[in-house]
């Protein structure tokens, strides 16, 4: 007994054979279509993966960072502030931090300098990220030269180079001792970049932040959630910027696809007439065109998404990492953790597969509603 499924299968069979008849035309369309899906899916995967990395990075971050402000700018914070914050009820731990940026005029690169609270290097030693080591072509045991605030050289020995696994976080990182950090930038003792504050109960975070602002009016508490939001906006903004750059290509494709999908050639019209005359219903013709459109758009969608996945998670987004990871001499070499946002993929699916399929059906419907006897007279 023939079933509806058999009918679908037969018509799908003929749809694929129909596509093969115009294989060069359909192949070129499929390639461009796949390329567009690939680029957009790559962006989605990349931005999501970076957000995930940023989120993981912030997992161990303090609940709140307190900075001192002077004339609207970030200023060094004295140790006395730490004691005042510690006395606020609910505050767990307050850790003073020393960190900053150093521009190396010889290699033209920016490094992030930090004094770790746990196991800092001995004075005269540094631990560096593999991006820094690559940039300066140095290894463990070599000497790294810095130019201090007064242009005198500061020579520090490389004690350790961080592993490649942590490169996304450590590529441009230089860890050094408090003494060397203060000597390099001529910082006064007992003054720090900011204070890392942890609280006993995370639900009291906002209350404690407002108490800090109240007691120390020249400070700015920054919550972890705010940092995360800033990262999200930053990556979204960069992803959006790429979309704008690609908008021209996407638009050209849309015009091409729309023209291909909505216009039926005289030959296609004649074929629809023939099918109607030999017993195909209007619904059968529409099903045929639906499968033709779906075969192209689904294949393009699936190939584009799979290629994008390979591009991002196996080849570390080689095609556009420079545009999305930052504008720096030091590009981290890293492999992203696979992450897929189902919602965004679903949006991409509905924006790529559905409009194209619909656009192929409408003109076919207009042609398929002709009287079957018109084929008899052609």
């Amino acid at each position: 007994m023939p079933t509806s499924l058999d009918r679908h299968r037969n018509i799908l069979d003929f749809a694929l054979s129909s596509l093969l008849r115009r294989k060069w035309k359909n192949l070129s369309l499929l390639m461009i279509y796949t390329l567009i899906v690939f680029v957009i899916a790559s962006l989605i995967f990349f931005v999501q993966a970076l957000k995930l990395e940023a989120g993981l990075l912030l997992t161990n971050a303090p609940d709140m960072v307190v900075q001192r402000m002077a004339a609207g700018r970030h200023d060094l914070i004295p140790l006395s502030y730490m004691e005042k914050i510690q006395s606020i009820r609910g505050v767990g731990e307050v850790v003073p931090r020393l960190w900053g940026y150093y521009f190396d005029p010889v290699f033209g690169a920016n490094y992030t300098l930090q004094v770790p609270n746990i196991d800092p290097p001995e004075p005269g030693n540094v631990m560096i990220g593999s991006g820094v080591a690559r940039n300066q072509r140095i290894a463990s045991g070599d000497v790294m030269a810095f130019r201090a605030h007064d242009r005198t050289p500061l020579l520090l020995q490389v004690e350790k180079i961080f592993s490649h696994e942590s490169e996304l976080l450590t590529a441009d990182l230089v860890l050094l001792s408090e003494t060397d950090f203060q000597a390099l930038f001529n910082l006064p003792k007992l003054r720090f970049t900011d204070l890392a504050v942890t609280v006993a109960n995370p639900r009291e975070l906002v209350t404690i932040a407002s108490k800090i602002s109240e007691q120390l009016p020249d400070t700015r508490p920054i919550l972890k959630s705010e940092i995360l939001r800033t990262y999200d906006s930053l990556f979204d903004w960069r992803g959006g910027m790429m979309i704008v750059v690609l908008a021209g290509a996407v638009l050209a494709f849309l015009i091409f696809a729309w023209d291909k999908a909505t216009g039926l050639s005289a030959e296609e019209r004649k074929e629809i007439g023939i099918l109607k005359s030999i017993g195909w219903e209007t619904a059968d013709v529409l099903l045929l065109k639906f499968w033709e459109g779906a075969a192209i758009s689904l294949t393009a969608f699936l190939s584009g998404v799979v290629l994008a996945y390979i591009h991002i998670f196996f080849f570390s987004a080689g095609l556009f990492e420079h545009a999305l990871t930052g504008w720096s001499v030091l590009y981290p070499q890293f492999r992203l953790r696979p992450v897929i946002d189902g919602y965004q993929l679903a949006v991409l699916f509905f924006l790529s597969v559905l409009p194209y399929t619909a656009a192929t059906i409408v003109p076919a419907w207009m042609a398929a509603t002709m009287d079957p006897d018109s084929a008899l007279r052609s």
Binding site: L5, D6, S18, S277, S378
Partner: protein, 239 residues
């Protein structure tokens, strides 16, 4: 048997360009016979074929199919008045009861001969393996089995005609409708075509042909010739 009772087809009804392509035609087409509609261009032959083949509806009158449905057991009298049926049912009848052979053959280029023949069976949802088997058998029957996998554009006029006949037979219809089937064939191929139709008649098929080719309407295989002019029947002769 196909019965037409006072069938008319009027185009552009109510407009200044209104004209009657078929006017008040009553006709009985016997089962298992070859009936030829003969007449000059514009006499209404093709319109009458499309009405009988459920491709269009008459403006007035009735068309009844008697024992024409292939599913009906032999000897059981079933009458089906097709003029009032909805489009879906008409398509079903067109698909299962009639096989069509067109003047221009109407084959689809770029696909194989075999696929062209199987086309009417696709939307019926039949399993394609037996359909393919049947198509191969039909090709062998019509002596063009060697062209099964060749694209139709490689075939000659006579071979195209045979492919069109095979396609008309794929759903095993009770009736074959052919509109000017010999228009693009030379005399030898036209005679061959009539011989094939004679074989189909022998197999119990009802054959209805519209033609103004003497090879067709003078053929001894034709059981009845119906003459038409200006949308009306002007004469009929049985052999």
């Amino acid at each position: 048997m196909i019965e037409l009772s006072r069938v008319s087809k009027i185009f552009n009804s109510g407009k200044p360009s209104q004209y009657a392509a078929v006017s008040d035609v009553s006709l009985t087409i016997e089962q298992g016979c070859i009936t030829v509609l003969k007449g000059p261009s514009g006499s209404g032959k093709t319109t009458l074929l499309s009405l009988i083949g459920c491709m269009s509806r008459p403006s007035s009158g009735r068309i009844t199919l008697r024992r024409m449905e292939p599913d009906v057991p032999a000897g059981q009298l079933v009458d089906l008045e097709v003029t009032s049926l909805p489009e879906r049912f008409l398509t079903n009848i067109r698909r299962s009861t009639f096989g069509f052979i067109f003047q221009q053959f109407n084959l689809i280029k770029g696909i194989s001969t075999l696929e062209n023949i199987m086309l009417p069976a696709y939307p019926t949802g039949q399993n394609l393996a037996p359909v393919k088997q049947r198509a191969v058998e039909l090709l062998e029957l019509l002596s063009i089995g060697r062209h099964a996998n060749a694209p139709v554009e490689w075939l000659s006029g006579g071979e195209l005609q045979r492919v069109a006949i095979a396609r008309a037979l794929i759903n095993d219809p009770a009736a074959i409708i052919a509109d000017e089937p010999t228009a693009h064939l030379d005399s030898r191929l036209s005679v061959e075509f009539m011989e094939i139709l004679g074989t189909l008649k022998g197999a119990g098929k009802t054959v209805l042909i519209a033609s103004h080719d003497p090879v067709v309407f003078e053929s001894l295989l034709a059981d009845r010739v119906v003459e038409m002019r200006d949308g009306q029947i002007t004469g009929a002769s049985a052999r």
